[in-house]
């Protein structure tokens, strides 16, 4: 008999890094779940898969894809979708999420989350890709809002409206990255609170928090860069509180992918996220 699909608890989770394997098993603290990048677990076997199998016995797992290119102009890569299905089938994770972005074009994978204009035409295409993913995996997926550094002159609607319409058309859920909201709002000179106000919070199945770098564009305007390589800054924690007050508790992830610190630093961020959830 199969167990019912697990779901992510409304607690603090962390992006799993192999160097923290023992720390997580020995002293998880308030850690409630783990997120992995799907593409790192698409080998045939060996240590990565063995560690994942073991961790999945202890923690709910969220599978976060970074390579599906859902916002791509071309068809989804069927081989890649099949690899993803294989992973999701054997792991039966609590959640699967991907990005409102593209990364593959002309069979070149660019290893970055690239932006798309928000138009009727792109809406139709992205909705079709989400439906194809959900049909293939046999489950709902969450779609994450991107970090924006620039805008498309051709865009016809704003991002929260674009995402809400995708939810309506496909039944997908949303992954709300609060750091991305802050980064995009700073870069595009809009209000992060207004973005949250307009966001379909009922559809949110997971919240991300991460760090960013600060730079300037050629006009001297602030240019924040989503680096996943630093601690979450206070204005982003404040924006999280603003969000949680409206949404109630949600599964909350600390993302730290570059210049990964020792476990104690992440444990502090997890504790702070846990405290924010307790107040929600």
């Amino acid at each position: 008999m199969l167990d019912a699909s697990p779901s992510l608890p409304p607690r603090a989770g962390v992006g799993y890094k192999p160097q923290h394997y023992s720390d997580i098993l020995d002293a998880a603290g308030p850690l409630g779940w783990l997120e992995i990048h799907a593409e790192n677990y698409m080998g045939d076997g060996g240590r990565p898969i063995a560690q994942l199998r073991h961790l999945a016995e202890r923690f709910p797992i969220s599978v976060h894809g970074v390579g599906l290119s859902i916002g791509g102009q071309s068809d989804l890569d069927r081989d890649h979708l099949a690899r993803l299905k294989h992973l999701v089938d054997w792991l039966n994770p609590a959640s699967f999420s991907e990005h409102l972005a593209w990364s593959t074009h002309d069979s070149h994978f660019l290893n970055d989350l690239l932006p798309l204009p928000y138009t009727d035409r792109t809406l139709t295409r992205v909705a079709a890709h989400i439906s194809q993913v959900q049909d293939t995996l046999g489950r709902q997926m969450l779609l994450e809002n991107p970090s924006s550094y620039l805008a498309f002159a051709e865009s016809e609607m704003d991002e929260p409206a674009f995402l809400s319409e995708l939810v309506k058309r496909t039944g997908c859920g949303l992954l709300l990255d609060v750091n991305n909201v802050f980064v995009s709002a700073t870069n595009l000179r809009t209000s992060p609170q207004a973005y949250i106000d307009a966001f379909a919070l009922d559809a949110v199945g997971e919240i991300h928090l991460g760090g960013h770098d600060e730079d300037e564009d050629e006009t001297g305007a602030p240019l924040l860069i989503d680096s996943h390589g630093a601690a979450v800054v206070d204005p982003v924690w404040a924006l999280l509180d603003y969000t949680l007050a409206k949404s109630g508790p949600k599964p909350l992830l600390i993302e730290w992918d570059n210049d990964v610190p020792e476990w104690a630093v992440l444990a502090d961020e997890i504790t702070r996220a846990d405290a924010a959830l307790a107040l929600a």
Binding site: E39, N40, M42, G43, D44, G45, G46, R47, P48, I49, A50, V66, G67, L68, S69, G72, Q73, S74, D77, D79, H80, R83, W102, S103, T104, H105, D106, S107, H108, F109, L110, N111, D112, L114, P115, L116, P117, Y149, L150, A151, F152, A153, E154, N187, L188, R189, T190, D217, E218, T219, A221, L223, I225
Partner: protein, 249 residues
């Protein structure tokens, strides 16, 4: 002004191509440095992936040379799939033709070795046979038996001392490599791949087994002087044999 993904992509790997028109900053002016963020993300993330794939090559040529070389490689061979764990598989051929690295003729074979180690790390798990399983084959049937090797097992031959160079750059107490050809067997007893120095004869023998030849045929391919007991002992101790089929099976 529409920006297609072809137009967006064109400049990502070409610093001389200006940002596409139609990408704007909050004032509606043409984005330039803002587009460079994507250019930078792509180049840096791919160069980082190559660095983690080829730590020994990087040590041999130096960090600065490697970064510059990675910049050339990633523009010539962008990834074809999102599996970054296997990015860099054309590095051996690239290095063969990369003029600034001509003075280090062993680099392409070191790249082959690093790729093989990584493939071994991610290879499928296997259930090894034991020495008892091997002894259960009657001696007169042994020469007609066929062996299946674990998916992680790989054999490389080179005109250069690749095992010595690899060891000297990964282990603190390894001896200085001596010039001359070397062959390497890679095994993965559990999770960590191990490179073993083997004779060229052993390499021929193992390739015979891999091609599903019988033990007898693989031995005759290798010629006289093969220390069969030693090779089989190594394979058994490294969990490298997964199946033994007698002549009748």
């Amino acid at each position: 002004m529409k920006v297609t993904q072809s137009q967006f992509q064109a400049g990502l790997l070409d610093p001389d191509t200006p940002a596409p028109k139609g990408l704007v900053n909050p004032d509606g002016a043409q984005a330039s440095k803002r587009y460079d963020v994507y250019r930078n993300n792509v180049a840096v993330s791919l160069a980082d992936a190559l660095e983690s794939a080829f730590p020994v090559i990087r040590k041999l040529v130096g960090a600065e040379f490697f970064r510059a070389m990675a910049g050339v490689y990633l523009r010539k061979h962008p990834p074809q799939t999102p599996l970054m764990m296997f990015y860099g598989d054309r590095m051996p051929v690239f290095l063969k033709r990369f003029e600034p690295a001509r003075s280090l003729p062993y680099l392409p074979d070191i790249a082959r070795l690093e790729l093989a180690m990584r493939r071994a790390y991610h290879a499928a798990d296997a259930s090894p046979i034991s020495g008892e399983d091997l002894s259960a084959i009657p001696p007169d049937a042994l020469m007609g038996a066929r062996f299946s090797l674990a998916p992680a097992v790989q054999v490389l031959t080179s005109d250069h001392p690749i095992h010595g160079i690899y060891a000297a750059n990964t282990q603190p107490d390894a001896p200085k490599p001596v010039s001359g050809p070397q062959s390497v067997l890679i095994t993965r007893p559990v999770y960590d791949p191990v490179p073993h120095l083997i004779t060229e004869q052993t390499a021929v023998f193992l390739n015979g087994l891999r091609d599903a030849q019988t033990l007898g045929v693989a031995m005759s391919l290798a010629g006289t002087g093969l220390d069969l007991g030693r090779v089989l002992g190594l394979l058994l101790s490294q969990n490298a044999i997964t199946e033994l089929k007698g002549p009748s099976s």
